[in-house]
């Protein structure tokens, strides 16, 4: 029981970190960034290249990944979202194509075979009969720290409040002197950084492979659907629902049905409560 609690908390922390960048874009720009999983993939591979292939410090690896994530976010906003003038469907489709292109690019540069990241913090402790690696513990703690930081940023800073305003009503915000373009650009940058950092941790849980972008995308999609248009707290809550559901299914029911239950949850929520569990909330 305690084991499930611990393992559930750890996995949910990771899921919250993964989904945050995706919900952020959805809530501010109202578009689905289907290339979101590619941030995670590029972040993970970048970290691998810097820290494991070049042998540089790990922190530098995370930093380079995050910077690259911001850059990708900026580029995506400037080159795709702006060009298509915010046409949602067009943005969604082009990001899907982009994801497939990035996947091909990764195969081109790193090859097909999957790679494993060394633990970012090595070591393992035993808590109540459950083995917990420091790596996962740190991932969860960092995930919480990032989410709290983001929450504080949105609530307390001028830019953050402007983001809230754009999320609620872009036109109204523009009238009151906020430049939605700038806010959008910042949001895409933050989302890219969150994705890239999430990718480093996700990859240190699992592996690096050219198709690794799909799984986190599905997790993010699940969080957005179940939660409704995401608030930061809503994302945190829903990530826990999905994380715990998964751990409970794996630990007590049938591990092979892990993904099936998540999909059923998505479809169930969409059919019965299309606005999501938390409806449309402010950021």
């Amino acid at each position: 029981m305690l084991q499930i609690l611990i393992q559930g908390l750890l996995l949910s922390g990771l899921y919250a970190l993964i989904a945050m960048g995706f919900t952020l874009i959805f809530s501010i720009g109202r578009v689905l960034n289907l290339a979101y999983g590619a941030y995670l993939m590029v972040g993970g591979y970048m970290y691998f290249w810097v820290s494991q292939t070049l042998g540089m410090p790990k922190l530098l690896g995370v930093a380079v990944a995050a910077v690259l994530g911001v850059l990708m976010g900026f580029l995506k906003y400037r080159l795709i979202v702006k060009t298509l003038k915010g046409d949602h469907v067009a943005v969604e489709i082009s990001t899907l194509i982009l994801a497939v292109v990035i996947q091909a690019g990764i195969v081109l540069v790193f090859g097909d075979s999957s790679k494993i990241l060394l633990p970012i913090v090595p070591g393992v402790i035993n808590v109540a009969g459950a083995s917990v690696t420091y790596n996962i513990l740190i991932a969860t703690l960092i995930s919480w720290a990032i989410l709290l930081g983001l929450f504080a940023f949105v609530r307390l800073t001028h830019t953050g409040r402007a983001m809230q305003a754009v999320s609620m009503d872009a036109k109204g915000a523009a009238i009151s002197g906020i430049d939605p373009d700038r806010i959008n650009l910042i949001t895409w940058g933050i989302s890219g950084a969150l994705g890239a950092i999430g990718g480093v941790f996700f990859a240190s849980y699992t592996q690096l492979s050219p198709s690794m972008w799909v799984a986190p995308l599905i997790i993010s999609v699940a969080v957005v659907i179940v939660g409704g248009i995401g608030s930061i707290l809503g994302t945190l809550v829903v990530a826990h629902i999905i994380g715990f559901l998964e751990v409970i299914v794996v630990a007590t029911l049938a591990p092979e049905l892990r993904g099936v239950f998540t999909m059923l949850l998505i479809i169930g929520v969409l059919v019965t409560r299309p606005q999501g569990l938390f409806g449309r909330e402010e950021l």
Partner: protein, 315 residues
């Protein structure tokens, strides 16, 4: 109805041209055309649902997969003749189409796209877990009965199927029903306001789309002779279908056809130049650039070209 004699002349020319093709081109090219034909069918099917009504589906392989799996299981495991198994497969796919319709009654836009993606993922996981003795599990099935042998025969069959579907869809879209469907895509509220039942219209679009997907999926699997869940319920497969429809031009019939042929031949002609992973990279990049440049598709480019030509003549 907006039917003009030259429409029929164009269709007639296309049909005759396509049927005479095996006399001119090599078998290798015919094989590529067969894949292009099936992709065109899937793209037309996607367009009926998503291009017209604006309900963007990210789960089209779900429908195609139901059709393909139904006929594959019936013929391979229960020795049902294809004359029965294909109609049954189409029926099953239409039932599945109603399943996709359920969420569309309440949600639209991005949420609808996401739920269809979830449908595809769910089926992908289910066919591997439930009754692998029937579905073949993760490995899929091989040695499924094929309807034709040889490139030319496969080409004739797929071309006939594709052209029949294309012409019937074209005629259908010329009716008031077709106009109403497109109107849903533009403004669902006003369609409802004009006293039409949007639910019925949507049900019609979804069922038609599912029927085409089922037909295409069933014939496709009997052409391939094998099926693998990893290739069928795959984001890359979905990507090809959607991009074919969009690159060609949505809400037209000829658009998805052009898009499908363009995508298939692009990938095939890159093979001798770039045999390895570069091929998919270049192929994807070209698709992305073209789409960014003209989201309305190749048809729009052609139309504009004609317009400026006409302008030049009158001036």
């Amino acid at each position: 109805m907006g039917l003009r004699w030259f429409h029929f002349a164009l269709w007639g020319g296309l049909i005759v041209g396509m049927l005479l093709l095996p006399q001119v081109v090599s078998n290798g090219t015919l094989r590529t055309m067969i894949f292009a034909n099936y992709l065109a069918i899937f793209a037309i099917s996607w367009d009926v649902l998503s291009g017209r009504t604006g309900y963007v589906s990210f789960g089209h392989p779900f429908l195609i997969g139901i059709g393909a799996y139904t006929t594959a299981i019936l013929t391979k495991r229960f020795d049902v003749p294809v004359e029965i198994s294909i109609p049954v497969a189409v029926l099953f796919t239409m039932i599945a189409g109603l399943l996709v319709l359920l969420p569309a009654l309440r949600i639209r836009g991005s949420y609808f796209a996401l739920v269809t993606l979830a449908f595809m993922e769910l089926l992908y996981q289910l066919v591997q877990v439930i009754r692998p003795d029937l579905t073949g599990g993760t490995r899929g099935m091989s040695g499924i009965q094929t309807l034709t042998r040889g490139a030319a025969n496969g080409y004739y069959l797929s071309t006939t199927l594709m052209l029949t579907i294309a012409v019937s869809m074209w005629l259908l879209m010329k009716t008031r029903l077709g106009t109403a469907l497109s109107a849903i895509g533009m403004n669902e509220e006003s369609v409802r306001g004009s006293g039409l039942s949007t639910t019925r219209l949507k049900a019609f679009a979804f069922l038609t789309s599912a029927m085409i997907a089922g037909l295409g999926g069933a014939f496709y699997v009997h052409y391939l002779g094998s099926l693998a869940p990893r290739a069928l319920f795959d984001i890359n497969f979905l990507f090809t279908i959607i991009v074919a429809a969009l690159l060609g031009g949505t809400s037209t019939i000829i658009g998805p056809m052009i898009g499908a042929f363009f995508m298939t031949f692009l990938l095939e002609y890159l093979r001798p130049v770039l045999p390895g992973a570069e091929r998919y990279f270049v192929y994807g990049a070209i698709a992305l650039l073209l789409y960014m440049y003209q989201p309305k598709g190749l048809v729009e480019l052609v139309r504009r070209g004609f317009k400026s030509l006409n302008k030049g003549r009158t001036a």
